[in-house]
Symmetry: C2
């Protein structure tokens, strides 16, 4: 099965200087994975027109099926996401009438005037489709360039989540890329290096599945193991792999405590 | 002043599929910025030998002064950071005697044997200097390639922070790249688009400084503005810019509430 690929690109100096933790990438990576995308890279880049547009040209050359861009749709001088995309793609930045209408409506409700900085948010790459923002002022947009689907999102998490879940997620689901099946369990009184040979043996047998172990950060007890896979066949494979791995561990480490986990 | 550049590279599928939020990048970005580096990119990439080593070759071509790599130093099959670096740089992966001694000591204290998977963690690119891990099993390392300083760190946050603060931060401070001066304040009863023209005017006057506004996520009230700069001259400039921006805002928005913030 050919798994479609995605990249997440996050614009904003605050992500690079340690002011903001990138929870948007966690949210988007989780959803993209669950609707069948392989997220190849998450990249945070600075609000710099030249560096950022060079970066987008690199992404275009890698030809992912999908790019989600976050941050930099707002009214301040360093909100340059759409200018960057325009420069990188060669698509003209033009005032979008639908976006302008939504921005006018947003500020009218706040009894605020439509300043030049606010109006800037209506300038989008030519051929963009507007994605209405029901939470904040800056609309998102959708554009196709070189066959790559590009969704442009604001960086404020509440706005991003609303636009993504309302306008984007249903479309990605409709593509039927395949469903992700995942199971996980927690092992107590053990460490990763003790489990490594058993995990590798299952990984080698089920090479299409994703098998991953990591320490249980939250309660700091033991190791969590995830097994997941895409497509119809994966449901049975994931179940079998989980059973076999647990059996292998129990055979080799007597009295080990294992607990299944659900989200 | 020529500001040295850095990139942060985070290996690990868990960062791409939404299982783990990248708090390591927040921690490292904060510290690198404060000791005078411009962090150009944070990139999360998959545990894939071919894709990841191609990615490192791209980073080498950009010639940052410093690369911090996180994740993938452990004993499991998908812990491939040093194999990736070796492939990308052409530096042979050889068993490091000092690293092996530290790994042996770590497992001896746990009354655990030195398995093949644990021993794997001692294989480092030729010419590496070992950075002892006082928290977990996998030592970090330091290597120079094409004049770029590369520090290799584990992905477990407690281990990463211990190695970084103990072995790396003091060296970066000693380089005297310049101190970062930063001040910030919070504005209540306003929105970013109202403040945008005043921020731009200050940014244009103090072009060497970094001026950034973002919504106050925590208490969800108003906007936070950061002004920062590097080097001796920046201390006075930051103070002046803060004063002038607050005055500009007070003149234009009567009765606005402004509060200084400290870390």
């Amino acid at each position: 099965m050919d798994i479609p690929t995605a990249e997440i690109v996050c614009l904003g100096n605050e992500l690079l200087i340690g002011v903001t933790t990138n929870t948007n990438a966690t949210y988007l990576g989780d959803h993209l994975t669950k609707v069948g995308y392989e997220v190849r890279r998450v990249t945070c880049i600075r609000d710099d027109l030249v560096l950022a547009s060079e970066f987008f040209q690199e992404v275009f050359e890698r030809k992912p099926d999908l790019i989600l861009v976050t941050g930099g749709l707002g009214p301040t001088y360093d909100d340059i996401q759409l200018e960057v995309l325009s420069k990188a793609s060669g698509l003209d930045l033009i005032e979008n009438k639908i976006a302008l209408g939504q921005i006018q409506e947003f500020y009218r409700k706040k009894n605020a005037e439509l300043t030049k900085d606010r109006r800037k948010m209506a300038f989008m790459p030519a051929t963009s489709e507007v994605l209405k923002n029901y939470v904040g002022g800056a609309p998102g947009c959708y554009v196709i360039h070189l066959g790559i689907e590009i969704y442009c999102l604001p960086g404020v998490p509440t706005e991003l989540k609303d636009i993504f879940s309302r306008h984007i997620l249903p479309r990605l689901k409709d593509k039927n890329n395949g469903i992700l099946y995942e199971k996980k369990f927690q092992i107590f009184q053990s460490i990763e290096s003790q489990l490594a040979p058993f995990i590798l043996s299952i990984k080698n047998k089920y090479s299409e599945l994703y098998v991953k172990s990591h320490p249980a950060y939250k309660d700091k007890q033991g190791i969590i193991i995830h097994i997941s896979g895409l497509g119809e066949k994966a449901e049975l494979d994931v179940s079998n792999a989980i059973d076999e791995l647990q059996e292998l561990i129990r055979e080799n480490i007597p009295d080990i405590k294992i607990e299944s986990l659900v989200d």
